[in-house]
């Protein structure tokens, strides 16, 4: 049973891991992107639209090419969420709009786009299917490693996931490596900490902000894609993604802006999410209190880090602040 719990925790945690890795990168450039929940919806629905159109174009589901079935939604998802990131950058960097307002508008817009197309896609393309259930595509996404079940609990815990789970972990590790060990990471952190200094050192602040925020959005969008294609078996349901976007932002704080810690944090959050199911005789309402835990834990982390006031554990110093060279 423990293996199953861990397995489910990982699956619950994966969308959060994508979301938080994307948001960490974004925040490291000084952008507090509150549009992440919307971006994750767009990432999901773009993938769904891609997969849906691809499946519809086939005469029968057996003709589905598993590689295309993965690549098309993946690409659509990346494009969709990157566009969202670009909207954010254009408004906040080029047009100097307030980051919080822009982010919240982006979330309204993104969730709207997700639910709208999720609910209307069938009508819009005049299809005769009853609902969006992309099981063929989902199966392609869910393909497990070949030795997943032959290794007992070990296989269950480590090998029984669709490829996006491994992508999430690898992306987090790469992000961690880039942030800490490369020149680009150093420059990026400088942009988020002290853009004026970065500017004076010859770093193109605008370019860094645009690129990282867009990449961050693309990564976060994959969280939405994973959720719908793998976790939800390719079935879109409106608002099914729930508050995972905000949980991702919570996870950023919980992991004190470190993608590597985010990996463990995402599993912990996932664990908190699934654990009520395994408690005997738990009422539906008590489950709600369990769902509160990740946020409470995050608040406690936020308080402790600000009390200890250790510089390394603080949000990037210029987080949420606009930077314009002329206004210093």
């Amino acid at each position: 049973m423990i293996a199953t719990i861990i397995q489910r925790a990982v699956m619950q945690g994966t969308p959060l891991l994508f979301g938080s890795t994307g948001e960490i990168l974004t925040e490291k450039s000084g952008h507090l992107n509150l549009g992440i929940p919307g971006i994750m919806y767009v990432g999901a629905i773009s993938g769904v639209a891609g997969a849906f159109l691809y499946e519809q174009s086939l005469a029968s589901p057996e003709l589905l090419n598993p590689i295309l079935a993965v690549l098309i939604p993946l690409l659509c998802s990346l494009v969709g969420s990157t566009l969202m990131g670009l909207i954010y950058c254009f408004l906040t960097v080029t047009l100097r709009a307030n980051q919080n307002v822009t982010g919240l508008a982006l979330t309204t817009f993104g969730i709207g786009v997700g639910n709208f197309f999720g609910g209307s896609l069938i009508k819009l393309v005049d299809s005769d299917v009853p609902s969006i259930a992309l099981s063929a595509t989902s199966n392609a996404f869910k393909t497990e490693l070949p030795f997943a079940h032959s290794l007992g609990w070990f296989g269950e815990i480590f090998f029984s996931y669709g490829f996006l789970v491994y992508v999430a972990i690898i992306v987090a590790i790469i992000a961690s490596f880039i942030l800490n060990k490369t020149r680009i990471g150093l420059h990026l952190r400088a942009v988020g900490e002290n853009p004026a200094t970065a500017d004076a050192a010859g770093i193109n602040v605008t370019r860094y902000k645009y690129i990282t925020t867009s990449i961050g959005s693309a990564i976060a969008g994959l969280g939405g894609l994973y959720y719908v294609m793998d976790y939800a078996n390719g079935v879109w349901s409106n608002n099914g993604f729930g508050d995972r976007g905000w949980l991702s932002i919570a996870l950023v704080i919980f992991s004190v802006w470190r993608p590597s810690l985010s990996i463990l944090g995402s599993i912990l959050f996932g664990f908190l999410y699934v654990i009520p199911t395994y408690i005997p005789n738990i009422t539906v309402s008590d489950k709600k209190l369990f769902e509160m835990l990740p946020y409470v834990v995050t608040i406690i982390v936020l308080i402790i880090t600000s009390m200890r006031n250790k510089k390394e554990n603080q949000p990037p110093a210029a987080l949420g602040l606009p930077y314009f060279r002329e206004e210093r």
Binding site: K181, R183, L186, H187, N194, T197, A200, G202, I203, A317
Partner: protein, 516 residues
């Protein structure tokens, strides 16, 4: 000491002119520095030293004139260009990322072809520190560092990028004497290895002990270059302060002089442990203008803020003699609100007008209320009085503004200052402190301010005037207190002193503690 390198000119400026609007910051300045030479650029505040060097560092672009680096004429349009010509400038305000290590800051922004190799960089940094005798741990975080260490990081940052011409802007302003000694040792080492070093300063003893040549600027103009070995303090002071200019500021005799504010042995340390105020004692009398002269950043701001209740002290007392009640109150470590509640009528015109004294986005009327809005029991604001006050000030001080409901940030510097001084005076103060009240103002506005201060003096207010222009201080004030590195350098009678006397006191930091 004679070697081949000393012959080669590293950097030469010819006829550099730079204006900001109508203000001429530099006028036809020419100077040169050779390899293996330390050149001091000497001048008072506002003499254009920093502006001149900022043009070499690529921060400003000259209106006219030529710059030669290593014999070639060059155009320096950005800091990047400056680095290309191996020029590195260490500004007064460090540009460092707090949470980064020294090494990370040093390599920040570098775009070499090679792999990002931190251990390799650290080796290189260590080699530089050893070569010149710096003390620095490359892995130490900036936020754990003292000011002196941060400065070291900035210098190594320049050297790491291969700077051969090093410009330091007031490097000793923030250092303790021991740290200054260390810095000079390092600078001499760099000179020995053939670097050209320019140091902007106004401390004469440093100039004399460190540099080979001294270039003097005064009010944006180039006065001349002299060999350090062939000059002395009084010659340099004279070059720096120039002949006395008569301003014809009216000055009345002091009447009814009584002790109003007694500052006794106050001490104040910065977070880094640098002494900002060191055993400062003086008395401000009613009906007198006490001038405070000193190099910028010698503790003037901290002194005024301590009196105004914005700066806590480590030691000493600030006693206020209330002329109405005859009681004595200690203002030390009180908040501005507590001071007001004690019945102390203290007016303060801070140096940072729009960042502290006024709110730029509020209109003139609302700015009038800053001091008085709390008056009365009503929960609502009373705008009638502030409005008539605003209109009165606009009329009396000839403030140029579309209306009293114009946000103050839209006004020109002189008008902003009239609003601020006008408001502070309106509260009928018994002590009036003004920090650089005529900085950046045109002649007419400046005289308006002088007249206002004189009026207050005649009313029996104890006026404290922090200024930078010695001519003004000598003609406006009754007594002048000279402050240097947080210590009192001495007191002079403004009616019987010379610019040279004050200039020498300012630039030497030996304490004289006898009050006139």
């Amino acid at each position: 000491m004679e070697n081949v390198m000393e012959q080669k000119i590293a950097l030469e400026l010819r006829n550099i002119t730079k204006t900001f609007g109508s203000v001429v910051a530099n006028k036809n300045v020419s100077l040169k520095v050779r390899k293996g030479e330390i050149l001091s650029i000497l001048g008072e505040n506002g003499s254009g030293k920093t502006t001149l060097m900022n043009m070499v560092a690529g921060i400003y672009f000259p209106d006219s004139g030529q710059i030669f680096a290593d014999g070639q004429e060059v155009e320096i349009a950005s800091p990047k260009d400056a680095f290309r010509y191996k020029i590195g400038m260490i500004h007064q305000h460090f540009k460092l990322v707090d949470v980064f290590t020294a090494a990370e800051n040093i390599v920040l922004g570098l775009k070499d072809e090679k792999r990002f190799d931190m251990p390799g960089y650290i080796e290189k940094i260590k080699a530089i520190t050893e070569q010149y005798g710096f003390e620095l741990d490359p892995n130490k975080k900036i936020y754990e560092m003292s000011v002196s260490e941060k400065q070291t990081v900035e210098i190594i940052k320049a050297l790491f990028r291969g700077a051969d011409i090093l410009i330091l802007d007031e490097p000793t302003a923030v250092l303790t004497p021991q740290e200054t000694v260390k810095l000079f040792r390092v600078l001499r080492n760099m000179k020995e290895s053939g670097k050209a070093i320019i140091i902007i300063t106004h401390k004469l003893h440093e100039v004399l002990s460190l540099s080979d040549n001294v270039a003097v600027l005064r009010k944006g103009e180039y006065i001349g270059t002299v060999k350090t070995a062939e000059t002395n303090e009084s010659e340099l002071t004279e070059m720096m302060v120039g002949k006395k200019i008569s301003l014809n500021i009216e000055r009345s005799e002091v009447e009814n002089r009584t002790e109003r504010l007694i500052v006794d042995k106050i001490d104040c340390n910065s977070r880094d442990g640098v002494k900002l105020l060191d055993d400062v004692s003086f008395t401000a009398y009613s009906g007198e203008i006490l001038g405070i002269a000193g190099i910028a950043g010698s503790g003037q701001r901290e002194l005024l803020e301590a009196i105004a209740g914005l700066q806590n002290l480590d030691d000493g007392s600030i006693i206020y003699n209330n002329p109405k009640t005859g009681t004595k109150e200690n203002l030390r470590d009180k908040t501005p609100l507590e001071i007001r509640q004690m019945g102390v009528r203290l007016a303060f015109v801070p140096e940072d007008r729009l960042g502290m004294g006024l709110v730029g986005n509020m209109d003139i009327v609302d700015n009038m209320m800053l001091r008085s809005y709390k008056k009365g029991k009503s929960v609502f604001l009373q705008r009638k009085q502030p409005k008539s006050l605003a209109e009165e000030i606009i009329e009396k001080l000839e403030v140029v503004t579309p209306s009293a409901s114009t946000p103050v940030r839209r006004l020109s510097g002189g008008n902003v200052q009239k609003i601020l001084v006008g408001r502070e005076i309106a509260s009928a103060p018994t002590v009036l402190m003004a920090a650089y009240p005529v900085r950046g103002l045109d002649i007419n506005s400046s005289y308006t301010i002088y007249n206002l201060l004189n009026e207050q003096k005649k009313k029996g207010v104890a006026v404290i005037f922090v200024g930078e222009d010695l001519d003004v201080l000598i003609e406006l004030c009754d007594r002048i207190m000279v402050i240097g590195s947080g210590k009192i350098a001495g007191f002079v009678d403004a009616r019987n002193t010379t610019k040279e006397e004050i200039g020498i006191m300012m630039t030497k930091s030996e304490p004289h503690n006898s009050e006139v």
